[in-house]
């Protein structure tokens, strides 16, 4: 199944990670710390116990969901840079249903209803950008970015005023949380839900008319017939679906991790989700691996900061470098392919 081109792509991805870590090593050395020690705390220490793997899973689940969401738009050659905003709106949807009195009244039902509302909220938030793109030609890039800032303020308003409980600006705790898989670790059923959805994503993209049309619109599927596929419709739908997944990430973040709505619960997740989609190469298995790696970086960087004094912002640098090196690698390997072609002709 793995083609020559596929192997080449995997090599590019691995090299990109290696190159980014090499630059990271230089930064660690400059800051006077020991690179081996720093990378140990970042990449290996979080995996040494089931409870610390639970911490990694707190990042893994939302990142995987956003990675899937972003991949939908990438297939249509659109950019959803609004993962953070959509995740926040999803978190809001989950919170409204989950907190008392509604949460108590609904009991365990508050989870599926909350998830559904999160999907709707995230989907609506993203489809604003989709609609404005299709109807008014407004750049989805700028609109999704702006919607992030607006969502941050909406959530801030919500936790400061209507949903506030107590002195801190945060909502009350939700009544029912996602059940844990094992009692001694925070890892919960959100992970399983996300993994099932990766499978769904793979099926939708590869086997359904929707997935095929999406790829046609994005130009990556060789369509025999172009006519009849409405570009605008699929632009809009890809944004909608993308936002739905990001919204679900917000619901998982509330019901499986923070248990209440607060400011900053989606910070960095939106953009890291893009890194996941890029590093995973939009491939279902790739997305899982990439989301795991990014979750490891995020969880590990906290320990690294405590133990070695290297700020957690180091992770942002690594993430950005990984994608930049992937782009570089893709450019360079394309150039080589082209040369071969030219040589034959």
């Amino acid at each position: 199944m793995i083609t020559k081109k596929g192997i080449q792509r995997i090599i590019v991805l691995l090299l990109a990670v290696a190159a980014a870590m090499l630059v990271g090593t230089v930064m660690i050395l400059l800051s006077g710390a020991n690179p081996l020690e720093a990378y140990y705390y970042m990449l290996i220490r979080p995996l040494t116990s089931i409870s610390s793997i639970g911490e990694v899973s707190m990042y893994f689940t939302p990142l995987l969901l956003i990675g899937i969401g972003v991949s939908f738009t990438f297939h249509a050659k659109l950019n959803n840079l609004g993962g953070e905003g959509q995740m926040l709106m999803g978190a809001l949807g989950m919170t409204i249903v989950g907190i008392p009195p509604v949460g108590n009244a609904l009991g365990a039902l508050s989870l599926p209803i909350g998830f559904l509302l999160a999907i709707v909220f995230g989907g609506i938030w993203a489809s604003i950008a989709g609609f404005l793109k299709v109807r008014f030609g407004a750049s989805e890039i700028v609109v999704t970015l702006m919607l992030n800032y607006i969502a941050v303020q909406i959530i801030s308003y919500m936790v400061f005023y209507p949903l506030r409980s107590g002195a801190e600006p945060q909502s009350p705790k939700i009544a029912v949380t996602l059940p844990k898989i094992v009692s001694f670790s925070r890892i919960n059923w959100g992970v399983i839900i996300a993994l099932i959805l990766v499978f769904v994503y793979a099926l939708v993209i590869a086997k359904t008319k929707f997935g095929f049309r999406l790829r046609t619109v994005g130009g990556s599927a060789k369509a025999a017939v172009y006519s009849g596929v409405s570009t605008k419709k699929y632009y809009f739908l890809s944004m909608l679906v993308s936002g739905a997944f990001c919204g679900l990430a917000g619901a998982v973040q509330i019901s499986g991790n923070t248990t209440r709505l607060m400011e900053g619960i989606a910070a960095d997740f939106g953009f890291t989700g893009i890194v996941v989609a890029m590093l995973g190469g939009l491939n279902p298995v790739g997305l899982v691996i990439a989301a795991f790696f990014m979750a490891l970086l995020s969880a590990g960087s906290v320990t690294m900061q405590v133990k070695t004094g290297i700020p957690t912002s180091f992770t942002s640098v690594l993430q950005a470098l990984i994608v930049l090196f992937i782009l570089l690698g893709m450019a360079l390997s394309n150039i080589e392919l082209k040369k071969k072609k030219g040589g034959k002709a």
């Binding site: 840079l81 404005l132 008014f136 750049s139």
Partner: protein, 313 residues
């Protein structure tokens, strides 16, 4: 509320709006040039951050504000080189590069900030650029205070927009940059080196975004705080669309956005029935509205955002 809209309030509001518009002017004028050549300025946000950090660092270390501005501009330009090489020479998706570059900028500036200044929440403040009163003109009611009682970076911003306008509209260089953004194939056929023009236009944009960052730290705040650019780079993109890629019109649009920002801060401080979050979100909301109104724009450079293959026929 009614009592506050008097002359003194408006003067103070628009005067502050003018100050707020300075980083927007530098950013959007640079972006006009870069977008005319076909490269989108999504990375302005990050270049501003680099400019803000390094201008503060050098001004603090050397005691010279001007050296600070220069190093801010240079850091913006050098960092834009990454974007220019990746998007022009390697022909990769400009928005992905842009977003990743911005994350890189946040990461690097926060990293350096923590490493150099420790984990203090507030950095040391430095003496900022002071307002210069222009004789006679500054005595005009309202207008004098708004336009002729600002610091040197504001005057330079206006001058800079005017010069850029003239260069873009009246010189061969401006025409060539435009040709590269409108029809790179034809430009190449007529002997213009498309890659070179796009790279240099983009680096020019990085240079001005760096000054925009310097104006954030050295004009008003006097210190660097993490993520100080706060989305201004993205607002510049909306300003450029609203101004139809005309550097002179960016002055007006920037002033508009600057005034909204100033109003937002005032309403927050004065306290009102509206929650303050509404006012913080206002500039971003208006940016979306601008894109709705001006989104379908036939004046946009035809090849904006599209990579150009040198060998393509």
């Amino acid at each position: 509320m009614d009592g506050m809209w008097n002359a003194a309030f408006l003067t103070a509001l628009f005067s502050s709006g003018m100050r707020q518009s300075v980083p927007l002017i530098y950013g959007s004028v640079g972006d006009c040039v870069s977008e005319k050549s076909g490269v989108m300025g999504i990375c302005i946000e990050g270049e501003m951050l680099f400019g803000a950090f390094f201008s503060y660092l050098f001004a603090l270390q050397t005691g010279s504000l001007w050296l600070g501005v220069l190093m801010g501009a240079v850091s913006g330009m050098l960092s834009s080189l990454i974007v220019a090489v990746w998007s022009v020479y390697f022909r990769q998706d400009q928005s992905i590069i842009g977003i990743m570059f911005n994350i890189l900028a946040i990461g690097v500036t926060n990293f350096l900030n923590r490493m150099i200044f420790g984990t203090y929440i507030a950095n040391i403040s430095i003496e900022t650029f002071q307002p210069i009163r222009i004789p006679l003109l500054s005595r005009i009611p309202i207008l004098g205070e708004v336009l002729f009682c600002q610091d040197i970076l504001t005057y330079l911003a206006i001058l800079f927009a005017v010069i850029t306008f003239i260069v873009m509209r009246k010189t061969k260089l401006g025409l060539q940059i435009m040709a590269v953004g409108e029809n790179p194939k034809a430009a190449q056929a007529s002997g213009i080196q498309v890659y070179k023009y796009r790279m240099l236009s983009y680096m020019f944009c990085g240079f001005t975004a760096g000054i925009a960052g310097a104006s954030l730290t050295l004009s008003s705040v006097g210190t660097f705080t993490e993520a100080i650019s706060a989305g201004r780079g993205f607002i510049c993109l909306a300003i450029v669309i609203l101004s139809r890629w005309n550097p002179l019109l960016t002055l007006i649009a920037s002033f508009g956005f600057g005034s909204i920002q100033a109003l937002q801060i005032r309403l927050q401080v004065q306290g009102s029935d509206m929650p303050y979050q509404f006012f913080v979100a206002l500039p971003y909301l208006i940016t979306v509205l601008v894109l709705i109104v001006a989104g379908h724009n036939i004046r946009a450079p035809r090849e904006l955002g599209n990579p150009f293959h040198k060998e393509s026929r």
